[in-house]
Amino acid sequence: MYHLIKKDLLVQKRALLLALCLLVWFSLTFSGMGIAGLSLSVLAVTYFLTFGASASDEKNRSDRLLISLPVRKSLIVAAKYVSVYVIVALTLFLVYFIHLVIKFLQLPVDVFPFTLEGAAGSVAASTLYCALSFPLIFKYGYMKSRMVNFILFFLTIGGSSFFLDWFQENAGLIQKIKEFFAERSDWETAALFVTPALVIYILSYCLSLSFYRKREF
């Protein structure tokens, strides 16, 4: 799996540089969005890099290579799902690095805060988005599913903003949720967030694998 993930990054050496530039730009332009700025930046770059790798597979017709190698299809699909978290981690590291540089150089610019909540939001948004879009890619390929995935991307962003606004308008509900989680231990809170995300992700993986096993090249 390591080699499949490493390949996804290697084929995008230039895109990684572009991703760094994008993150600098997002850090400055999304500064007014608070922690949502971090989640949105990471989601956008994850979208860019994850689908960049799929685009490269399709452009090079490399599925023929991957399937001809002695490697199980389940591993090829699993590597794509795991690579999302590698890319999210890498992106978070880059954002943190950009913030450190800005702080170190004492540049007179505002950036969104780098918080644990923002990072968790990045992971959640990327998980949800990739869980929705990967089955389409494994069934139809990157090019054919590109438009639908593009729409899904904006729906994920729009949906996240809608929920953030909705929560802000319903302060009472937020208070109740806060109280609910305050009564739980850290482990319980984490489990309540991670379990549904994991279930969605695993279901998405099973669907993708089923599509990929039936796909013909």
Partner: protein, 292 residues
């Protein structure tokens, strides 16, 4: 004998094309030329063998193992060269090799380095900057560096200049010297197979028309040529195809011995090329004959 490839009753149907219960086999140590016109079913057969497509029926056994149940064990022992590049354009030759290597337990880095030297492959050049011939050589180096016992090649010479094609044939000839490897070589450029093939399997419109040794094929069939008034009534049923032109008659016939006996000295009998066999078998209604 040790059968490396054994295909029985293989079928696949999709819109506009059907592979109809095809069967053939290849023994260890031989090169099989898989010939047929474009769209005959050559690539479909190879895709089915490599699990790039799902078969509708039949059985594919490679090294005596089922190609689906024992997929990983089978693919460890196969080297593949496809008609089009399937490597990542963005990677260098070295990076691409580093990606492929970990998947093969029997990868031999020294062998790869040797092939790189022999083929003159530039390790630090991106795949997209390689010529078509170089890409094919890289595919071949990768296929040979894990000691593949069966090389599956889908139109490897298409689009290559005669010099590179000849080089590939030389490589294959050298490769076959140890008698342990087998090559399944699909092509519509039959002159390549005239030089190296031991077996010929001819496919047309999804059906296997013949599968036999090249020697038998060239001994069994003959090209018959004669003037416009050549009387073929004594052996017309032996003809696979006939072409009439303003200069005379030419055709491909089976049972060479019979044809000679029946026509006597009234016709010129010549040894056919694989191209003649391919053309006459696949275009019976409006037959052609190659220039001799």
């Amino acid at each position: 004998m040790d059968k490396i490839v054994e295909i029985t009753g293989l079928s696949k149907h999709y819109k506009g094309f059907s592979l109809k219960n095809i069967s053939f086999s290849l023994e260890r140590g031989y090169i099989m030329g898989f010939i047929g016109p474009n769209g005959a079913g050559k690539s479909t057969t190879i895709k089915l063998m490599m699990n790039l497509m799902k078969k509708d029926g039949g059985q594919i056994k490679l090294f005596g193992l089922d190609h689906e149940k024992d997929e990983i064990a089978v693919k460890e022992r196969i080297g593949f060269v496809y008609d089009e590049n399937c490597f990542y354009d963005e990677l260098t030759v070295e990076e691409m090799k580093n990606f492929i290597r970990p998947f093969y337990r029997r990868w031999d880095e020294a062998a790869f380095r040797r092939y790189v030297r022999e083929f003159g492959l530039p390790l630090n050049k991106q795949i997209k900057r390689l010529s078509k011939g170089m890409k094919m050589k890289f595919a071949l180096a990768a296929a040979l560096s894990h000691h593949a016992e069966l090389l599956i090649m889908d139109e490897p010479t298409s689009g290559l200049d005669p010099l590179v094609r000849n080089e590939l044939l030389d490589i294959l000839r050298t490769l076959m010297e140890d008698g342990d490897k087998s090559v399944f070589f699909s092509t519509h450029i039959t002159s390549d197979l005239d030089k190296i093939a031991d077996y010929i399997t001819l496919i047309h419109e999804g059906e296997i028309l013949l599968s036999t040794t090249k020697e038998e094929l060239l001994e069994e069939y003959c090209i018959v040529k004669g003037g416009k008034n050549l009387d073929l009534s004594a052996c017309r049923e032996l003809f696979i195809g006939l072409e009439e032109s303003r200069y005379g008659i030419a055709g491909l016939a089976r049972n060479k011995g019979d044809v000679i006996k029946r026509l006597g000295g009234s016709a010129v009998i010549e040894k056919p090329t694989l191209e003649d066999i391919l053309l006459f078998f696949t275009s019976r209604s409006d037959s052609h004959v190659s220039s001799h």
